[in-house]
């Protein structure tokens, strides 16, 4: 017991006095869901937009480092500010729900992203194209193949005349042992090529199963 007391005395102090004082402290945390809920009702649209963007980006970052539970938690917080989110961030959010198998929520957000992005001045129509592509993958996962094909053709039509659209991450379908699977590409993927390849894969799958 005595030696343990001496050991404790030898431990470096957790504070310093003098002209440069510092001390280790802690502050009580507040549940982020409570704070976000309080701010969801705020009148300040710009604040809500920034908070929504923050959570949407955090969700994407967590997904990229393979922490889907944390990604989902951040995406749920972003949902509180969904009304203030710009369309690009809505698509990000939809993709997080898609990758965490929250397909119904992904579909709602991506449909909203398509509507919102059609209002944005974007002659190359990349924003709706990406949302159409992700929604097509949602529908394919839900086995709504006809809807998926229609969304993919919307995506391909929107990108007509464009050679390359780089995306950080995309899910694409492939067939293995007669079953449809999905794989994520995390290197820079070309949406133009992926949308055409995915459409061809889905058509082959549908024809081989006479769906």
């Amino acid at each position: 017991m005595l030696s343990r007391s001496f050991d404790r005395l030898r431990v470096e102090p957790k504070k310093s006095t003098g002209p440069f004082e510092w001390s280790e402290e802690s502050i009580p945390s507040v549940q982020i869901s409570i704070v976000a809920e309080n701010l969801r009702r705020a009148d300040n649209e710009d604040l809500k937009r920034r908070l929504g963007i923050y959570h949407s980006l955090r969700a994407s970052s967590e997904l990229l480092i393979d922490r889907p539970e944390r990604a989902l938690a951040q995406a749920e917080l972003a949902l509180l500010f969904v009304g203030s989110l710009p369309p690009g961030y809505l698509t990000n959010l939809g993709y997080v729900f898609l990758c965490t198998e929250e397909l119904d929520r992904a579909a709602v957000i991506l449909e909203r992203a398509i509507v919102e992005s059609s209002r944005v001045q974007d002659p190359r129509r990349i924003l709706p194209a990406l949302a159409w592509y992700d929604l097509a993958i949602v529908r394919a996962k839900q086995e709504r193949y006809t809807d998926a094909l229609e969304l993919l053709s919307n995506c391909i039509a929107a990108l007509e005349g464009v050679d390359i659209v780089h995306c950080q991450a995309l899910l694409f379908p492939y067939v293995d042992s007669g079953c449809l699977h999905f794989k994520e590409i995390r290197v820079v993927a070309n949406l133009v090529r992926m949308s055409k390849d995915s459409e061809a894969t889905l058509r082959r799958f549908i024809e081989s199963h006479r769906i």
Partner: protein
Amino acid sequence: MNLDFAALREVLSDLERLSESSARPLLGKIERLGKFQLDALGVLSACSGFASARQLWLVRYITRGDLKWEALEACAEELRVNGVIEERDGRLSFYGDDFDRIFVKYFAREHGVRCEVQDSNPVQHLQRSIIREVGIQGVGFLTTTSDEDGVAAFRQIASALASPTEAETSFASREDWAQTAYRLFSEHSSIEEIPVVRVNLSLPEFGRLSGIIYFESADALRALPNVIEKLRSFAGRAKEINGAF
């Protein structure tokens, strides 16, 4: 395009062809500066128009401990006589325009020295220097604008954010604190008590500075012992120079 000293030299040659060279005598003076003088110029121009040489040295010595006051004072006089810096009401200013600032930054970089002319106030400069010398990504420093204690200020903001009626107004009144608190609650959602470091600095010719050092992520938080080690060395040097005033 990469902006480096060679690119700036080309821009300068173009300016010379346009007979602008006589309008830029400062550049020749800068090119004649040695490594030590460039380093000193970086220290003396960090708060251009807002701080005294003594304040600027104080920040450098506390955070790095590698520059003696006498050496900086002598160099400041030399730079002042050469017209590279000027002193008004006890505050030092860099004597050039925006192009000269960019030129000196890249010229010093070529010599392996950091020399950035900035218009920060001394408190912002101290804040940034502490964080730069701590050198860990995701570690930040919030300061209070008065004698208010940093931890008390944070608790007040946290309590406001937890209240449905005060959350929005806390962003309006103290946005940087509210934003930081929000991010910390989001990043450290699995812990009930978030570790921070309270800092109070009180030195003659500088006034009083209070605040907290915070950790934006779990990774940054793991570096707490390294941060403490740095703060210990800052505190030691602050004590040492306090006696010398």
